[in-house]
């Protein structure tokens, strides 16, 4: 006989199999979402990669521990496999801490603690590798350090959710609740391993919690939007969309109370940008290349160019600081503008003089993008 499990153990195995399948699908989805937007270089999109890596190790750890309990009878192999399970578990928390240690989060939490915890996290890994898993000392070390990490993670969650707004807040809330439930399920399994409880209904409780957690995370990561840097909106000053062929401004939007020095600012700006580009191209002999950033005193002009030839549309975003989020926002504006006005843009030359009337309705889209 290959494996001899009793019926309860078989059901337990089927439950674990379900969570593993769900977990693997979740990891694939996280990594897929990250892969889709990785080129945008938004630092906070690391959440997708970090949580993907977290769940890989988490699910592997959970499954290894279950397989060990159900199938492995040899005490030496049992001990070796438990060590693998534990190490995998602690590697998963490193992925979470790595995400929190991103510089951007220093605005809401002390990220030095995250960096220190990554190092402290190595202690239980060493303890688990060197000492037997059944030792009380191992259990205490593992529990204390894991608890410290989780308390820190919980504080981070609360602060991040308080700082976030709109869809991202709802999605983060779901991801965090799901992750917390999954981690709680781990504690249940740990207690059983430590020998405090006999094998009983707690296992099914743990698996059910994990399953619920994974489903909630899946709901959260579904349609997860681009995660802009914190307070990125305060950085925006003005947007101008320019028809470079006709040297006219098609559309403009003021994000701040900034007043123009000139009455005819938009026309000046449109002509100015096109002129600067031509002069720069001539003196640097880069005719085929386009300018993408101008730094002037306390502000920056980020530039993007339309993809709908033969039109020559430039998108200029004036900002205070050079953030990746602002560049991504400008690209989004470009895509939205070209999609929304695709029918009109193909005949834009016939509407010279009516630009403001025609494109004024883009205000609604901008407000939508700012949520």
């Amino acid at each position: 006989m290959l494996f001899q499990l009793n019926k309860i153990q078989e059901i337990e195995l089927l439950f674990y199999l379900t969570t593993t399948i769900l977990g693997i699908q979740l990891v694939i989805y996280f990594l897929y979402r990250y892969y889709k937007i990785r080129d945008e270089r938004l630092p906070l999109n690391m959440i997708l990669l970090s949580f993907g890596v977290f769940f890989i190790f988490f699910i592997i750890s959970d499954f290894i521990l279950a397989i060990n309990r159900l199938f492995i009878l040899d005490p030496i192999w049992t001990e070796i496999i438990y060590k693998f399970g534990y190490v995998s578990m602690f590697l998963s928390t490193i992925a979470l801490l790595f995400f929190i240690s991103i510089k951007e989060f220093s605005k809401i939490i002390n990220t030095k603690i995250a960096k220190s915890l990554i190092i402290i996290n190595l202690i239980p890994i060493i303890v688990v590798i060197l000492l037997p898993s059944s030792e009380l000392f191992t259990f205490l070390i593992v529990t204390i350090i894991l608890s410290a990490i989780l308390i820190y993670f919980l504080i981070f969650q609360i602060r991040l959710i308080n700082t976030s707004k709109g869809i991202i807040k709802n999605r983060l809330l779901l991801i965090f609740i799901g992750t917390d439930l999954s981690i709680i399920s781990l504690f249940v399994v740990m207690e059983i391993i430590a020998g405090f409880y006999p094998l009983n209904i707690l296992i099914f409780m743990g698996i059910s919690l994990l399953m619920a957690g994974l489903i909630i995370v899946l709901l959260g990561v579904h349609s997860f939007p681009a995660f802009y840097e914190l307070k990125w909106k305060d950085n925006l000053l003005r947007l101008l969309i320019i028809d470079q062929k006709n040297h006219t401004s098609l559309y403009s939007y003021d994000f701040s109370e900034l007043k123009s020095k000139h009455k005819d600012y938009k026309r000046l700006f449109s002509g100015g940008i096109t002129g600067i580009d031509s002069i720069l191209s001539a003196i640097t002999k880069t005719e085929g290349e386009k300018m993408n950033k101008i730094k002037q005193a306390d502000s920056l002009i980020l530039l993007e160019y339309g993809t709908r030839s033969p039109l020559q549309i430039a998108y200029a975003l004036i900002v205070k600081e050079d953030l990746d989020s602002n560049r991504f926002f400008l690209k989004t504006i470009k895509n939205q503008f070209e999609a929304f006005y695709k029918e009109i843009l193909s005949e834009v030359d016939s509407f010279i003089g009516s630009e403001e009337q025609l494109f004024g309705s883009f205000d609604l889209i901008i407000k939508g993008l700012l949520y």
Partner: protein, 368 residues
């Protein structure tokens, strides 16, 4: 012929159990995709065929759950008396629950499909036949739980015949990925056949293992197919569109397009004036007053007129059938048109050239 003992035991028990469990989970997931698709659609657009497919996959997976209990976890010994029956076994009881689950959920599937398609004579013919089958099954179930299995073979044969007819109709509508759908279904039918008691007595549990693997492959292929499938409501709707008009608040036609060559219409300005009058009358009749963003449908034999009234513009769509999806597309078209031309419409001087880009928009939305 092989002699089989239940619950299944031996070396193959665990791998077989795992394999069957994996495709049950995948089946449940596919069923949820349909349910989510149904609820994600706008209310007027919701198509019960999504619920039908949810029932089919959900029922199939639930049936397999009962089969697993019956084949792996309970005894097959005949006990007399057994619960409310003269004799029976726990396995027979759970298998019967499985049969009934599938019959119940396939009847829901039939109802959902027949709501949109008339197969023979009139609507709901198959639903009625299969409901009667389900009742007969229930009667037999309460008489003797060991004789129902034969009935399910007849049921499955009839359902398969219906499904083949349905598929021929459905496949015609699919432009791509037909091969995935067809191969997925073929694997499912062949795999399922290998897991029946008759097949197991011939091929043994190894045959059942192959059947389970085939079903797992089929579920994966069908998942891919259904994930890439557009909503059912989007099939063929463009063929039913005949003409489109946009009328401003003064009743003047600002844009029109005739899609169907067979369509013979009167002057667009007369139509605009007539529709404006109808709109005013409708508002008065329904006592809703100055109601905006409302969709009205006027129906005559072979002709439907859908009217959507936005703030400054009304859209009128002629269709040959009453469908939900064109209503949503008309609403999208009118709302986008109004947003694009909001400032122009307020001070419009009668020149229609400025609305020329609407032609591209209309072609994109209403033409194939």
């Amino acid at each position: 012929m092989l002699f089989l003992e239940f619950p299944i035991s031996g070396d193959i028990r665990l791998p077989l159990l795992i394999m069957e469990w994996i495709f049950i989970i995948t089946g449940f997931e596919i069923s949820l995709i349909f349910l989510v698709r149904y609820f994600k659609q706008e209310k007027t657009l919701r198509n019960l065929q999504d619920v039908g497919y949810f029932s089919l996959f959900f029922g199939f997976s639930l049936m397999w759950c009962f089969y697993i209990i019956g084949n792996y976890f309970v005894e097959d010994d005949i006990i007399s008396p057994f619960l409310i029956w003269r004799s029976g076994s726990a396995r027979a009881f759970f298998l019967n629950l499985g049969y009934f689950t599938m019959i119940f959920f396939t009847t829901i599937f039939l109802f959902c499909v027949e709501k949109y398609i008339v197969f023979i004579f009139k609507r709901y013919v198959f639903t009625t036949i299969f409901s009667i089958c389900a009742i007969i099954f229930l009667i037999l179930f309460f008489i003797d739980i060991r004789i129902t299995q034969a009935v399910t073979y007849i049921y499955w044969l009839s359902f398969s015949s219906f499904f083949v007819i349905y598929l021929i109709k459905f496949m015609k509508k699919l432009e791509k990925n037909r091969i995935f759908f067809f191969s997925g279904l073929l694997l499912m039918v062949f795999g399922f056949a290998l897991t029946t008691d008759v097949a197991i007595t011939i091929f043994g549990l190894e045959g059942r293992m192959i059947g389970s693997i085939l079903q797992l492959f089929s579920v994966v292929i069908l998942s891919y197919f259904f994930l890439t499938l557009p909503p059912f409501s989007e099939f063929d709707w463009q063929d039913k569109i005949e003409a489109l008009f946009l009328v401003n608040s003064a009743g003047i036609c600002i844009y029109y397009k005739v899609f169907s060559e067979r369509k013979d219409l009167m002057d667009e300005n007369l139509i605009s004036a007539a529709i404006t009058s109808i709109n005013i009358m409708l508002r008065e009749l329904s006592e809703t007053g100055e109601e905006r963003n409302a969709i009205s449908v006027l129906q005559k034999k072979g002709e439907n007129v859908i009217i959507y009234q936005a703030k400054n513009v009304s859209g009128i769509l002629y269709t040959s059938e009453e469908l939900n999806f064109p209503k949503v597309v008309l609403k999208y078209f009118v709302d986008k048109f109004e947003t694009l031309y909001h400032n122009i419409l307020l001070v419009w001087d009668g020149a229609t050239d400025i609305f020329k880009p609407a032609e591209i928009m209309a072609n994109d939305l209403f033409c194939k």
